[in-house]
């Protein structure tokens, strides 16, 4: 490689400094393509797993990739997008922090010619992303709701533990569940509290709820970490045998607990499928394919004791 002569480079620097020119990636054949994997948070094993799977698939397809952690912060996500676009990533496999707040980021990337493939969580703008491969949380919780009604024999008192109250997934899951359960007037929700998708908070919240409502029959939790926390609170209160716990995610702890008969059911999401599909779509995009389904729902499957043998953590048994 030959260096530019000093005058030329000075001129370029000056123009760049004055904001007159910027960087643009050259799409040459010999340069290998790179994928940026921007995930909402790495503070939650589920998303770590999603990112790892996307990275593994990208590697398998022969691409370099890097994971960016938005730390549940949309403005940090914006920085990651700008950096990824500026440093010449050719596609973004994206797990948004916020369905509305992330729209701008997606639009900026696609406007710069970088395709965006959303995984698991969606952005609320039709056609902004190249394709969205989404977990169908709502329908998954409808299935959990139906099983909930069935196991409780249509009557009883229950507690709902919500995730973060500012998060779309929290309400998608809650609404799916209530769309079924609210049709049965003998099923009474005696408390609805948030525990921020956190195991410790869920335990503390349920401990307090149990003081006010000692005779509940079931707990529905917005994710599996909270289901484990709720279960722990029930064990400590000596009520684990007759209170039924329901979760959502398909995390390792809960899959094992369903096997052991400690937790009733969970909604299994398929991060492997979503991550691999996103990476595969990006690969096809590089090879010239431009037609992708705008939205591709990935079903959430109800996992309970009598079908648990078909499942492992975060997916189907191999």
């Amino acid at each position: 490689m030959k260096l530019l002569n000093p005058y030329k480079s000075l001129l370029i620097c000056a123009l760049f400094g004055l904001g007159l020119i910027g960087c643009k990636t050259r799409q040459s054949e010999e340069e290998p393509k790179k994928m940026a994997i921007v995930v909402s948070t790495l503070n939650n094993p589920w998303f770590v797993f999603l990112a790892e799977q996307a990275q593994a698939k990208a590697k398998e397809l022969g691409y370099e990739s890097k994971v960016f952690d938005s730390q549940n912060n949309t403005s940090q996500e914006t920085d990651h997008f700008e950096n990824a676009i500026a440093s010449g990533y050719d596609a973004i496999l994206f797990n948004p922090t916020d369905a509305d707040g992330s729209i701008v980021n997606v639009k900026n990337a696609t406007a710069a010619g970088v395709p965006v493939f959303c995984m698991d969580r969606e952005v609320n703008a039709n056609g902004a992303a190249t394709s969205q491969i989404l977990s169908d949380s709502y329908s998954g919780c409808v299935a959990i709701g139906k099983y909930f009604v069935e196991t409780l024999n249509k009557k009883g008192k229950y507690v709902e533990i919500l995730g973060m109250v500012g998060d779309n997934n929290t309400w998608n899951r809650s609404k799916g569940f209530h769309s079924v359960v609210d049709q049965y007037p003998d099923l009474k929700m005696v408390a609805q509290q948030s525990a921020d998708f956190d195991r410790n908070k869920a335990m503390e919240v349920l401990e307090s709820i149990l003081q006010a409502q000692p005779d509940i029959d079931a707990v529905f939790c917005g994710n599996d970490a909270m289901a484990m926390g709720a279960y722990q609170a029930l064990v400590a209160a000596g009520k684990a045998d007759h209170v039924k716990v329901f979760g959502f995610d398909g995390a390792e702890d809960v899959v094992k607990s369903i096997q052991d008969g400690k937790i009733m059911a969970t909604g299994m999401q398929f991060p492997v499928v979503m991550a691999q599909t996103a990476a595969t779509f990006a690969d096809q995009y590089f090879k010239g394919e431009r037609k992708f389904p705008k939205k591709m729902p990935v079903a959430v499957e109800l996992v309970k004791r009598d079908n648990i043998e078909n499942y492992a953590a975060y997916g189907k048994e191999d």
């Binding site: 503070n43 094993p45 797993f49 408390a191 401990e207 307090s208 722990q232």
Partner: protein
């Protein structure tokens, strides 16, 4: 001197009154509040915050602050859990080292002390403001937690270890014993020892303390080390209660802890306050958390109420210190 003592008593009184009013209000609103099992419940829930906040009180008394407690808690909990669960493997020597509950717990506490000492060292050696030094540690310790756990919880730690967080001893939950022991030690240090006098003196007037021959830097390093060690103890309790070390444990615990210190009447500018005040502050927060859930108050409103209580406490504290 006499006047200062009266003043301290008054400050302690103020949060006691608030606590009392809160309890009276809650027992009228909910018949479940004043039950023995609920009171143990509240005590057990605040024990982690009391551990952290006791250390935080000592630090704030020197006019410092420690924002890293939540991350240090997570890292120490994770290290203990990891050592308990899988030990250390040295593949080159084909060596495997397993850890007992005591060994793993000590390793966690030592890590916390080391991180605390590091905080104190950067603050005193490089004159980095405590806010900045511990903010950096907050990020670094969280990063190491992620590296150590690879982002996944470490669960299933065995019954012996679970006793620490879930067991009972002489009719009192073990975490309550532990936090009570820590409070007693801290009260002893602050009121009966030379170290305690130095802590207050440094917070009151650092340059005067230095001139009068107090080794200010050494005292500060000791105080931050204690803070780190107590955060580690909190980490052990959280990990043991959950039977799992969560990579995101302790997020925003520094805020709850600072809130307890401030509500308890310790001045953020140092030199004034007490460990017992902080215990009352932690009780107020714990009772409030518990009461709001007992009454099934919407999660949106809970945050508003908690914020207003903190604000009110600081306003009253300000008004008090003006009367000096």
């Amino acid at each position: 001197m006499n006047l200062a003592l009266d003043k301290d008593k008054l400050l302690r009184f103020q949060s006691l009154i608030a606590l009392f009013l809160l309890c009276v209000g809650l027992s009228i609103l909910s018949d479940k509040f004043l039950s023995v099992s609920n009171l143990w419940n509240v005590m057990r829930q605040i024990s982690v915050n009391i551990c952290i906040s006791t250390g935080m009180t000592l630090i704030v008394l020197t006019a410092g602050i420690d924002l890293s407690v939540g991350s240090v808690l997570a890292l120490c909990g994770a290290i203990t859990a990891g050592l308990l669960k899988s030990g250390i493997e040295i593949p080159s020597d084909n060596l495997y080292i397993g850890f007992t509950v005591l060994g793993a717990s000590l390793a966690g506490i030592l890590t916390g002390s080391a991180l605390g000492a590091l905080n104190g060292w950067t603050i005193t050696k490089f004159k980095v403001p405590p806010f900045v030094a511990t903010l950096a540690m907050l990020t670094v310790a969280r990063g190491f937690t992620m590296l150590w756990t690879k982002g996944f919880p470490i669960s299933g730690l065995g019954d012996t270890f679970l006793f620490l967080g879930t067991g009972w001893f002489l009719g009192v939950p073990v975490p309550v014993w532990i936090s009570a022991l820590i409070v007693v030690l801290a009260v002893f240090i602050t009121t009966k020892t030379r170290l305690g006098k130095y802590i207050y003196a440094i917070g009151g007037n650092e340059s005067a303390s230095r001139l009068s021959g107090i080794q200010v830097n050494r005292v500060k390093i000791i105080v931050y080390t204690i803070g780190g060690a107590l955060a580690a103890v909190g980490g052990l309790l959280v990990t043991s209660r959950l039977d799992s070390a969560q990579p995101n444990a302790g997020v925003s615990y520094e805020l709850d802890s600072i809130a307890a210190v401030v509500i308890g009447g310790t001045s953020l500018s140092g030199g004034r306050g007490s460990v017992l005040g902080t215990v009352q502050g932690a009780l107020i927060i714990g009772v409030l958390n518990n009461g709001l859930v007992l009454l099934n108050v919407s999660p949106f409103w809970q945050q508003v109420v908690k914020g207003l209580v903190i604000l009110l406490a600081v306003i009253i504290d300000k008004a008090n210190s003006k009367n000096d």
